[in-house]
């Protein structure tokens, strides 16, 4: 199968480099989790992949095509995203917010066809948000909003989805909900997902591949079991020797339970 996203020797940052020398390959349906402390540059990496930021150097390939050959409109049919930035739409129902994801497929004036609305409703059904679809978006709870933003990214029919901290500010139930939706969607629709996440206990249950980042570099890349280890956790979070292992041992039991919840 072809790699849907490939990052080669990428340096990201603003004027100064925040994270250097990132190399990564993502296959369709694969879930890649970025872990690392606050300020490590996880969002900077994701923002560079979604072109919110210019890359400093290195290469990004979208479906084996160098990214400078993929224009913004083309990219919008391949890659969708959910950021941490809160949107403030005026007088829009949740369903109308989801509908903005159909942008790349509508005509000059952006009017949705019947087929487009069907895709919107499918995406809403996929995130279990039917009952709030007609509610005012700005009056939804954080968890509901996150579902709607996810539905919006889904109905954009991407092959790659970039999610910046999709579980932050959510309670445990919503975290499980959102992550199981992401997993279901990735496996069922064969969408590649790159996301950043702070909840280490979920990583094993969720991800196929993990990238650990700290101090401006990629510390380790591998399968969750290889990365979520005492040593690496101590390294990236600057913990005392021994603490990482205790933490991971504690998380293990919890992880198994979460695995069942997320993959139900």
């Amino acid at each position: 199968m072809d790699k849907v996203l490939k990052v080669y020797k990428l340096d990201v940052g603003y004027q100064k480099t925040v994270v250097a020398d990132i190399t990564l390959e993502v296959m369709p349906g694969e879930i890649v989790a970025l872990i690392g402390p606050n300020g490590a540059g996880k969002s900077t990496i994701l923002n560079t992949i979604t072109r919110q930021l210019e890359k400093l150097s290195g290469k990004i390939y979208i479906k084996e095509k160098e990214d400078k050959l993929v224009n913004g409109e083309e990219l919008s049919t391949v890659m969708s995203m959910v950021t941490t930035q809160r949107i403030k739409p005026q007088l829009m129902s949740a369903r109308e917010v989801v509908a903005t994801g159909r942008y790349p497929y509508t005509g000059r004036l952006g009017i949705l066809s019947k087929n487009d609305w069907e895709k919107v409703d499918e995406a809403i059904a996929l995130v279990d948000a039917k009952e709030v679809a007609e509610n005012d978006f700005s009056k939804l709870s954080d968890g509901q909003r996150q579902r709607i933003m996810l539905a919006r990214a889904i109905c954009q029919e991407p092959e790659i989805m970039i999610l910046d901290e999709p579980t932050s500010f959510l309670d445990i139930q919503f975290k499980v909900d959102i992550l199981s939706i992401i997993k279901r969607m990735a496996k069922r629709e064969n969408i590649a997902v790159v996301l950043s996440i702070h909840d280490l206990e979920f990583v094993e249950a969720l991800a196929d591949k993990v990238i650990a980042i700290n101090d401006g570099r990629v510390v380790a890349v591998g399968r969750p079991k290889e990365i979520i280890t005492g040593e690496i956790i101590e390294d990236i979070y600057h913990m005392q020797k021994g603490c990482g292992k205790t933490l991971i041992d504690g998380l293990r039991g919890y992880s198994d339970a979460l695995y069942k919840l997320i993959n139900r």
Binding site: Q52, M81, T83, P89, Q90, Y103, L109, G110, W117, E134
Partner: protein, 337 residues
């Protein structure tokens, strides 16, 4: 299904507003100091009738009414575009000082040209107003980079407006030419003295800007979700921002060039229309704001010219009384959150 009903309702409201505007236009033609009845109007449209009535209609009433419609609509759309740009409903060409700075530049250019014995063309007035608008817009944008709070930005804009008005007063006061006497009325905002030529040229500019904005409804709608998501959709953010600023400035400059600064239409009408149409989508809001701005400005101008006839009020006095409370409500409601 629910959405389709919403769209049907919105189209119905647009239709009702259009009918209302036509009826109001006809009524406005009939009211005024010279006695013109339905019969005269009928004769006028048939191409016959007395010269006196024809004359009044062609040179006074019609240009004035058309100007109020075109320019009122232009101001409301200009306000809507600025609100999209700032991502905030508290914005408009008048409250950000853009209209007053346009006024200052028109006054300066007029005085300068008259001193040199030259006549100021309609096109030249628009150019001067546009330059003035862009300068104050530039200042507002620089300030917007420093203050994130929109209410504070509006206070700064109002202050810029005061400064520009004060300088305009100096200019008008010290200019002795008798032609400039007219400047005094104009500088307060008035549709009196508008000619058919003004109507024609403003119509061209206003239609061009509104058509352009309407055709950009799709990217404008995406921009309302925030820059990041718009960029992800492939919207060229820089180009869109430039177009928003240029077309909103050109719209309000066209109005100011001929009618002077008209207060609060740009900020209040989009707010009223959002409430009426229950949406902020540009595809609906651009035509809705044009119609709403036209209707409200036409009513205000009718009041300005007839309430205390033969004395005329400035249009801004009327719009201020009617619309400033809407702005206050808007500010209060945002403050509550």
């Amino acid at each position: 299904m629910i959405l389709q009903k919403k769209t049907a309702d919105q189209i119905l409201i647009i239709f009702i507003l259009t009918v209302l505007l036509v009826i109001l236009g006809l009524i406005s033609v009939l009211i005024g100091s010279a006695d013109i009845g339905v019969k005269d109007l009928y004769a006028f449209f048939k191409g016959s009738g007395e010269d006196f009535a024809r004359n009044i209609l062609l040179t006074i009433r019609l240009p004035r009414i058309l100007a109020a419609v075109i320019m009122g609509g232009a101001l409301a759309v200009s306000g809507f575009l600025l609100q999209v740009f700032f991502g905030n409903p508290i914005a408009g060409p008048y409250v950000l000082g853009v209209s007053s700075s346009a006024k200052l530049f028109v006054a300066l250019a007029m005085v300068f040209l008259l001193k040199n014995g030259r006549v100021f063309s309609s096109f030249g007035m628009i150019v001067a107003a546009f330059i003035g608008s862009l300068i104050s817009m530039g200042i507002v944008l620089i300030m917007a980079g420093k203050v994130r709070n929109m209410s504070l930005l509006v206070v700064c804009g109002v202050m810029i407006g005061y400064i520009c008005s004060a300088i305009t007063d100096f200019v008008v006061c010290f200019a002795e030419d008798s032609n400039i006497v007219n400047l005094h009325n104009w500088s307060l905002g008035s549709f009196s003295g508008t000619t058919m030529e003004h109507v024609q040229i403003s119509l061209i500019f206003v239609l061009a800007c509104i058509f352009l904005s309407f055709m950009l409804s799709k990217p404008i709608g995406a921009y309302q979700l925030g820059e990041a998501y718009a960029r992800n959709m492939g919207v060229n953010i820089k180009a869109l921002r430039v177009i928003l600023i240029l077309s909103s400035s050109l719209l309000s400059a066209t109005v100011t060039a001929f009618a002077g600064p008209i207060s609060f239409v740009g900020i209040a009408v989009p707010h009223i229309m959002r409430g009426l149409f229950k949406t902020a989508k540009p595809l609906i809001m651009i035509p809705a704001c044009f119609l709403g701005g036209a209707i409200i400005t036409l009513i205000c101008d009718d009041i300005a010219r007839t309430a205390f006839a033969p004395t005329e009020l400035s249009i801004s006095s009327v719009t201020a009384v009617g619309l400033a409370p809407v702005v206050i409500l808007l500010l209060l409601r945002r403050g509550e959150r």
